[in-house]
């Protein structure tokens, strides 16, 4: 594979993670626990879509095609996001009996954001300069996102017995597929050999150390290694949940090209 192709593989991982993560966040609009959270979470979601946009723009500049098309018109098997991030927020849909799981959302968002922080720190040193510039820009905003999810996590972990039970169940659930977030997929060795990003094991361990510390501070032990039970999204493996998400979020794009240019 050419250097260029390998670099694009990495940027697809970054773009797709942020894109699908932002989409799942947007589904919470109007449904979160209280109105201040609605302001906060929708703002975070908007920032995150901006991060996805920046990565898709890098791909556009590399000749991969128009950024809107990259986001809306690819097949699920071409997506490189981690499976954990595509999972539905709960049962029902946004319009029909949404029964979303806030504990799962808080834990997923915190764990992903701890990884994202670690990833951005590494990308700032990337040998590909456009990537390091992008990481530097995103970091200024992501700092507030991480702070936000840490606050929720710490408070709910130390709240009522019911909250604690729900949070612990959510941690166990997220843990089963968090390995797919840390994974850099089948080209991991090539990424680090070209110094686009640090090796998977190094970044992964750094992230797990941070998460271990956070959990320990609220008397919870993360045991063993995180799993990848549903498969590795970095290699194009995905679930029905991604298909559903892409169908929903691309509906306008396919029905009215003019409207979607807004």
């Amino acid at each position: 594979m050419t250097d260029n192709k390998i670099l694009r593989e990495l940027i697809y991982q970054l773009a797709d993670d942020n894109f699908i993560h932002s989409y799942r966040g947007s589904e919470w609009l109007g449904l979160v626990p209280h109105i201040e959270e609605d302001v906060a979470y929708s703002s975070i979601t908007q920032d995150t879509m901006g991060h996805a946009y920046m990565f898709y723009k890098l791909l556009e500049e590399m000749g991969e095609g128009n950024s809107d098309e990259l986001a809306h018109a690819r097949k699920p098997k071409d997506f490189r996001n981690a499976i954990l991030l595509e999972e539905k927020n709960g049962t029902g849909t946004y319009l029909d009996n949404p029964d979303y799981d806030w504990a799962f959302t808080v834990v997923r968002n915190l764990f992903y954001n701890v990884y994202k922080e670690t990833q951005l720190e590494s990308l700032k040193q990337s040998s590909y300069e456009p990537l390091s510039i992008t990481a530097r820009k995103i970091e200024t905003e992501q700092y507030y996102h991480l702070m936000h999810w840490k606050t929720w996590f710490m408070q709910l972990m130390q709240s009522t017995e019911e909250a604690r039970t729900r949070m612990e169940n959510a941690i166990r659930r997220v843990w089963k597929d968090f390995g797919g977030v840390i994974s850099q997929g089948r080209y991991a060795d090539e990424f680090s050999a070209r110094k686009y990003i640090e090796p998977e094991e190094v970044l992964g361990q750094r992230c797990l150390d941070k998460l271990g510390e956070l959990c320990k501070s609220v008397d919870f032990n993360l045991e063993g290694k995180p799993g990848m039970e549903k498969g590795n999204g970095r290699n194009g493996e995905h679930t029905e949940d991604l298909k559903q998400a892409l169908e929903t979020l691309s509906e306008v794009y396919f029905s009215d090209a003019e409207a979607s240019s807004w």
């Binding site: 201040e36 908007q46 920032d47 901006g50 510039i133």
Partner: protein, 167 residues
């Protein structure tokens, strides 16, 4: 007619000061520190802007307004002049780029600007834009737009907003 580059640049900067942030009306993009560079290359004027927040939906509108304003100004001088606008992330936009008149104008619409020397992780030094009190509380780091937070003044009992410090 040929216009000398310096005069042309001066004219462009002046016109850019007429481009307001659509979500903070009296404040221009120059005052916000969004204009990084104005270059003249032959008949082309290239304006480089720094986006404040990456997901800001006002960016496209700002770009169009810049094209309108600058075009009007430069074509008065020479009809064959053209303007191009591009966004760049390097250097990243930071709160300390907001200039003094920007700070003053933001205050008049109830938006405070934190201390320009603020570093990431520092506690915020924010004064109430109405009464200048420092006895304020943070209601929500996130606000009605990506770049703003919601605060409350315990002295004059007014809610207000502050630009989210970006360092």
């Amino acid at each position: 007619m040929t216009v000398n580059t310096q005069d042309l640049q001066k004219e462009v900067w002046k016109s850019l000061d007429n481009v307001m942030d659509p979500e903070m009306e009296p404040v221009s993009i120059v005052e916000l520190g969004m204009v990084e560079d104005v270059e003249v290359e032959g008949k082309n004027v290239n304006v480089t802007l720094l986006p404040t927040f990456s997901g800001c939906p006002a960016l496209d509108m700002i770009k169009e307004n810049v094209i309108d304003e600058v075009e009007q100004a430069i074509q008065k001088l020479d009809e064959s002049l053209k303007v191009q606008v591009k966004f760049r992330y390097d250097p990243p936009w930071t709160t300390d780029r907001i200039n003094e008149s920007g700070r003053e104008k933001l205050k008049t619409i109830g938006i405070a600007v934190p201390d320009p020397d603020q570093k990431r992780g520092d506690s915020w030094e924010v004064r109430c834009p109405y009464c200048d009190s420092v006895t304020v509380t943070m209601e929500n780091i996130f606000g009605p737009t990506a770049c703003r937070s919601i605060l409350y003044c315990k002295s004059c009992r007014n809610p207000f907003e502050a630009m989210k410090p970006i360092a």
